[in-house]
Amino acid sequence: MSAATGTAAAPGGAGPGSAQGTVRRLIVFVLLFVLVTIAAIGIAGLVERLLGAARDLAVAGTADLALQLAFTLIGGPLAALLWWASWRRMADPAERGSVAWGLYLAAMGTVSLVVATSALAGTVTSLVDGRWEPEALAVAIVWALVWVWHRWMLRHPAKGPTRLATVPLVLGAAYGLVVGAGGVVVAVGAVLDAAFGTPTLAILVPDPWWYAALDGLTWAVIGGAIWWWHWVHDGVRRIPTAFAAVALVVVGVLGGAAAALAGAGTALDVGLRLAFDPADGTAAILEPLGTALAAAAVGAFVWRLHARIADAHSEATRRASRLVVAGLGLAGAASGIGVVVNAVLAAVADPLASTGTRTLLLGGISTLVVGGPTWWLAWRPTRRVDPAEAADVGRRVYLVAVFGASAVVAIVALLVVGYRLFEFVLDPVTGAALVDRIRAPLGLLVATALVFAYHFAVWRRDRVAIAEAGIATGRAIGRVVLVAPGDPSPFVRAVSEATGAPVTAWPRVPAEGETPPDVDRVVGALQGVSGRRVLVLAGPGDRVEVVPLAE
């Protein structure tokens, strides 16, 4: 142990974990972030002047130029100096392995990617409209260079970060997916709108429909390229970290499913209104249809694609992807129920005059019809749940989350209803006005009560099943501290899979000619061990020591 501490300590005496080092890195990287941003803004401004010089007929004032020069000539050299000083330090493994370095590269890499691609898309779409915007192009060029520079540092074999190194790649893939899918929705929606003959009526001289389609297409191509670059080229699809799994489930599965359900619900609503409530006029009702159909199709594709990837990823990811879809369907169904109750009360309230409550009711029914079956298929309420699944962490977190969300909604709705009731008692108005004021929160309250009742029953049955089967909920081991020679990552993966506990790895300096012990031996040694913290000493040779630590 003492040897390891000796090599890791920095020459100045500030060890890798020292507070001084952490604060220094934090300040240095925050400063570097700010300086790089300032320099990039300044340089982009100067490049814009270069690109657009011929276009300007007259230029008034020099304040802009002064600012750009200050940003470039002061921010630029300072950024370069600070970068050079910190880059030199990265030869030290302690610096290279610091969280601040990984965070800085993730933040700057993602920001530069987003700024560069947005500016590029702006340039292309304005060119489509027949306008030439050098400022957007200048921003795109400069920030693309910033991105390339940070990628080079990220991938540097000797100085690239060893922690959080995959975070910018995962973020890039998620950003590309969102932007690309959004672009496809806009493009296809514009084409469909044109096909249905529903251009916006309010604009007297409308843009041709293909302007919107080309805008969407630009974003789709850019987003698709970003996604492909990260997902396929950088191999984000094979990154095994928990963060990558969360991004997969939240962006791919949940985001895709949300777009698909919202689109399908809106399309159904349009259909129902055309059939039963055509008073607003066909053109007005058809207006959201194109985008809704596009969102439904693209969202469903993204959702199914990522659900299949999640299925293949791991058992926990598969369950999580089902549960988020169940939660989404539940939220849709519950809000639909709330709107239906609201519509009934609105019809009963007997107003003096009204445009009718059919639109409200049909909206509620379409949400219910889309959300309900989605929930049913993802949750499968009629299926027999075996005790092992009932004890699953994901399922229990889901139930607690549903309880929490319904409690928050119920409390707010109850407060509003109570407020209106007291107001009514203290200063009586007509009963119709009272019903009109409480119908929306009352609808939500009824929906929440139904959701709560069902999940409470499920939770109680789960508890009974777990108690009968005698399964201990929670893990036998709270945390594993693993001391292993050389690269500890195969041990970390195996131990965390076998025990479910988070693993802290302390790599040990290997002895001369030492081979690390077999991974299965380490996992086998943990069998039947319990404790809040367990220390595992792997090696030398086949020796594996397991030490449960005192509380």
């Binding site: 619900g265 519509a343 009934v344 107003p351 003096l352 009711l361 909206g363 108005v429 139904l450 009742a453």
Partner: protein
Amino acid sequence: MDDAARSRPDRTLIVILAVLGLLVVVALVVVFTRGEPEPLDAATPEGVVQRYAAAVIDGDESAAMDLLDPEVVDSCVRLPASSAEGVRVTLVDTTLRDDTADVDVLVTTTYGDGPFGASEYDERGVFDLVLVDGDWRIESAPWQLTICDPTAVGR
């Protein structure tokens, strides 16, 4: 014990689904069978307000004009037709005096549509009415239902 434990949530589910089905059917019946709101007596302030509001919501401005105070009509500077779409007017209270009356209403405006987007807000508003030759006529209306510009000075 096991059977009881298994059947309980199933029973809960069936009850909830039954409640839901009933709710949707009742909603469909109530909303689709209920026609126009019950007409009130045209000789009362509420009746006049009801006819006026219905006319504005239908976009029938000339019918609405007939229910306005003739002085207001004479100096009327028409507002550009705003759509009173998604508006619903509920009676709150009526204050009757000798030759004037106030009808207090709740104006609920629904905006945005689609299943997730529909939301609404309500606002109290007052119709001021005056007695003109034995008939109640409207002097001022809440802004959502105004057809004459109240800030324009009469010519």
